[in-house]
């Protein structure tokens, strides 16, 4: 640490415990994360703290989020005396010159360790400190961040650097009011730095996205660094986006509203730039705070669709009837679902593609299919709400007292098979994070199609498998069939609807094989993966074209006969 720094604060809040990462739709996980510095944060002490996770915390879905607890009251009564290892003890000035207007600064000496690792997490998790954040509504009633920030932009930079590290233990059971406090606390600290004309460095403990996707290892933490004032345009934007997002979270909690990630993106398209940036920031903030995303009052936009003989009873007393002609119903978040009631259906058909779902729903064809299936569509990789609904259905009986059968209609490509396995086994990232993935799986799910054999059966009649041969010169062969030309030209495209496997598809298939080939439930879809690799074609559901309904009738009918016998 150089001595010329004017202010040096370390807001070390506590050790790493865990996060509640997988409220994110899974497709976010596969994407890369641009524009952030990924410093590896997986250090020894954090690894040991990971062992402290009490997994039962995650399994408690019923913990109320908004229950006012005594914590706020507690916080206001906590003595400002600083117990050893308390959060506040880490806020320390390294120099007493040019004091910023700080609310209350512990006058500790410089030789206190900068980052007190190994803080008793129980202490840290239950104590909030009024020294850093006064009770809401009293001392800091209104934080006009934007104007403060704007003003700060105009000020000249000086030579002080302040690093604020932000990481929290698992706080998944905490109320949103606590989040509010936490944000205010952060803002206050930052503003003090900025007011003191210090250079602000915020380090946020995010979650490595690649780690979520890969293998069965523990999640890997990475540090996101935010600079203020930034040295480049992207630094400035990053910081501004962080502040703006925290402000929106604050607003959502204060107004007791829930924003979708899409809402947030549209609040300031120019600033956020992409949905990806919002998604990643939200994940990082919830990771750093150690809370589930819903505690930030942020959800993913409802994505999944359902249609069929089904009623969804919501916790607010309303009933969604999914038997509406012409369109599907958006699947509500599982926290809003009281119970589901299946009526006449004894089949659930999970469909990868929205277009196919809409075709079946709008035409009303689903009513005439065997088993009168309930259609569920996750629009590609399913989000959590969709998988949880599938799981609810899996646990439900219809009015006749039968459990429904589950079938899956996906593209015949590596991603389609991956989606199938995600519905069937739960997602890998959930397993990685030790989450309640078994509550989102449908082990009885069967792969209905599409497969190559189906294409042969249903498309060859349409002439898709045939070819045009241009006769250009007559050199007959004596093979007992009509004469062919010596030089034969064949149509260049593969049978309609079939696409060649790309290098990306192949890599995906091989990585899925690596992942799944030795697991118990592997044989079925790994064989399909190998067939894809060997044959070199993939197919979309659309290959069936107008044969779709006939295809489903026959396949579902066959399955039912197979089950009966």
């Amino acid at each position: 640490m150089s001595s010329n720094l004017e202010d040096q604060y370390y807001l070390e809040l506590s050790n790493v415990i865990d996060l509640y990462q997988n409220q994110t739709p899974i497709e976010d996980d596969g994407s890369e994360y641009f524009g952030w510095s990924d410093e590896d944060a997986a250090t020894g002490p954090e690894d040991t703290s990971l062992a402290l996770i009490d997994e039962s915390q995650f399994l408690d879905l019923t913990t109320p989020i908004f229950t006012p607890t005594a914590e706020i009251a507690t916080s206001s009564t906590i003595n400002t005396g600083l117990p050893d290892g308390d959060i506040v003890s880490s806020i320390q000035p390294t120099s007493t010159s040019s004091q910023p207007p700080f609310l209350q600064r512990p006058s500790t000496t410089q030789d206190i360790p900068k980052i007190p690792q190994g803080v008793d997490t129980a202490t840290a998790a239950t104590q909030t400190d009024p020294a850093v954040h006064p009770p809401i509504g009293s001392q800091v009633p209104e934080l006009d961040i934007e104007s403060r920030l704007f003003k700060a932009f105009l000020e000249a930079r000086r030579d002080g650097i302040v690093t604020i590290t932000w990481e929290e233990p698992d706080n998944s059971s905490r109320p949103s009011a606590w989040v509010l406090e936490k944000i205010d606390e952060l803002f206050t600290a930052w503003l003090d730095v900025i007011d003191g004309k210090g250079k602000l460095v915020v380090k946020l403990r995010g979650c490595g996205r690649r780690a979520l996707r890969s293998s069965r290892s523990q999640p890997k933490w990475v540090w996101r660094t935010f600079l203020y004032p930034g040295s480049s345009a992207s630094d400035i934007r990053k910081f501004a986006a962080l502040v703006r997002l925290l402000e929106l979270v604050r607003e959502a909690i204060t107004l007791d509203r829930v924003y979708t990630k899409r809402d947030i993106y549209y609040k300031d398209v120019a600033l956020f730039g992409s949905q990806q940036m919002v998604d990643n920031l939200v994940d990082d903030i919830s990771s750093a705070l150690g809370i589930p995303r819903r505690s930030l009052h942020i959800t993913a936009a409802a994505k999944g669709l359902v249609c069929g003989d089904l009623s969804i009873f919501k916790t607010d007393g309303s009933i969604i009837n999914c038997n509406i002609e012409g369109e599907g119903v958006l699947i509500p978040s599982s926290t809003d679902i009281e119970k589901v009631e299946i009526r006449d259906s004894d089949t659930v058909l999970i469909i990868e593609k929205e277009a196919i779902f809409r075709t079946l729903a709008e035409s009303g064809d689903w009513k005439r299919l065997p088993g009168r299936p309930i259609l569920v569509c996750g629009k590609g990789y399913p989000d959590i709400a969709t998988r949880e609904l599938a799981h609810y259905l899996y646990l439900s009986k219809n009015l006749a007292g039968q459990y429904p059968d589950f079938y899956c209609l996906v593209d015949y490509d590596p991603h389609g098979l991956d989606i199938y396995t995600m519905y069937k086994n739960g997602s890998l990232s959930c397993r990685t994070a030790g989450m309640f993935y078994e509550q989102m799986a449908v082990p009885a799910l069967r792969h209905l199609g599409v497969k190559f054999s189906d294409i042969l059966e249903y498309c060859s009649a349409e002439g898709n498998m045939s070819q045009n041969i241009e006769d250009s010169g007559v050199i007959p062969t004596d093979n007992g069939e009509e004469p062919r030309s010596k030089r034969v030209r064949y149509t260049s495209s593969p049978p309609q609807g079939l696409l060649p496997m790309t290098a990306h598809d192949r890599a995906k298939a091989v990585s899925m094989l690596r992942r799944d080939h030795d697991t118990a439930a592997a044989t079925e879809h790994t064989d399909d993966l190998r067939k894809l690799l060997y044959v070199g074609y993939k197919a979309e559901i659309q290959v069936l074209g107008d044969q779709l309904v006939r295809y489903l009738e026959e396949k579902l009918g066959r399955q039912r006969i197979g089950l009966a016998s």
Binding site: L456, S466, V488, Y490, Y534, V535
Partner: protein, 310 residues
């Protein structure tokens, strides 16, 4: 003229999943599948008992196997990308070719008749010849093509020519003595899944998704004639020992035998509609031809006695 073939023997549960790879020597019928093992069934014995299993084959499964005609050596390629050499005389693993995947992952393999030369075709169209006689295995030839997936390769019996078939329909013949491309065969525009030199090395049979079996003259590069009759993708083509017959197998489960003399399809085999990934004649013993096909099962056929006179 038609011939009649009878199912001689079927091995139903040879492998836990589909069988993609087949190589036949006088002693062994070598098969590779989605499971990690490579199995060796007896070729001669009409009961075709299992003689040996290479348990440490390919973890993710095996998609190509080539064996030398001499029965000395086999080479297998797995889905995970490795290329393994097997000593068939001592029934043991004989290492891998290090660096085989350096310029692109190997997909297709072939061996010369004596097993000393190995031909590989990679996913980015690199065709290479390796010397397997002594380690380290030297790379003898490296042909660069148009960066198109190589689905199949074949070496002529004398090792003089190499042929490769590609996903865009490209078929190339290389002269291994000069190290140059001899012919680029045009006219095919769909994936080429099988190339095979006739036993004499004068003709090249080509099959693929165009459903036609095209016969080329190796020296001139001219298409001599073609067989039509398959109605689905044709996965493999192979010659009988004498060069008199061709066997082809297709995705719709049909196996066809073609006569080079009469230029007709002499028989069509296949009871199921499950894909037949490979088919091959067996080394001839006695009068009639015998053949083996793999897909979901290993099935042996033999020519009905007395039917060959036609």
């Amino acid at each position: 003229m038609s011939k009649q073939y009878l199912t001689a023997h079927t091995i139903d549960n040879a492998h836990a999943s589909s069988i993609y790879a087949l190589a036949v020597t006088a002693d062994y019928t070598i098969t590779g599948s989605g499971s990690s093992v490579i199995k060796l069934h007896c070729t001669k014995d009409p009961a075709h008992p299992l003689l040996h299993t290479f348990v440490d084959g390919h973890a993710l499964g095996c998609h190509h196997i080539a064996a030398s005609k001499s029965g000395r050596r086999a080479v297998s390629a797995g889905f995970e990308g490795s290329l393994k050499i097997w000593d068939l005389e001592n029934l043991e693993a004989n290492g891998e070719i290090p660096g085989a995947n350096k310029d692109g992952q190997v997909w297709a393999v072939s061996l010369s008749a004596d097993g000393s030369r190995c031909l590989t075709g990679s996913q980015n169209g690199r065709i290479k010849i390796w010397d397997l006689e002594k380690e380290p295995f030297l790379q003898l030839r490296d042909y660069e093509t148009k960066n198109i997936f190589t689905l199949c390769v074949d070496l002529s019996a004398d090792g003089k020519f190499a042929a490769s078939g590609h996903e865009n329909g490209g078929v190339y013949i290389f002269n291994n003595e000069t190290g140059r491309m001899l012919h680029s065969l045009t006219g095919l525009m769909k994936p080429v899944r099988g190339v095979s030199f006739s036993p004499s090395g004068k003709l090249l049979a080509v099959c693929g998704d165009f459903q036609v079996i095209a016969i080329y003259d190796v020296h001139s590069g001219e298409q001599v004639f073609n067989f039509t009759g398959h109605t689905s993708w044709v996965f493999s083509v192979g010659w009988s020992e004498t060069g008199q017959f061709l066997v082809t197998s297709s995705f719709d489960g049909k196996t066809k035998i073609w006569s080079m003399d009469s230029r007709t399809c002499v028989t069509t085999l296949g009871e199921s509609n499950q894909p037949i990934f490979q088919a091959s004649f067996l080394p001839k013993i006695g009068a009639g031809e015998r053949l083996v096909t793999v897909g979901t099962t290993i099935t042996y056929y033999r020519e009905a006695s007395g039917a060959g006179t036609g």
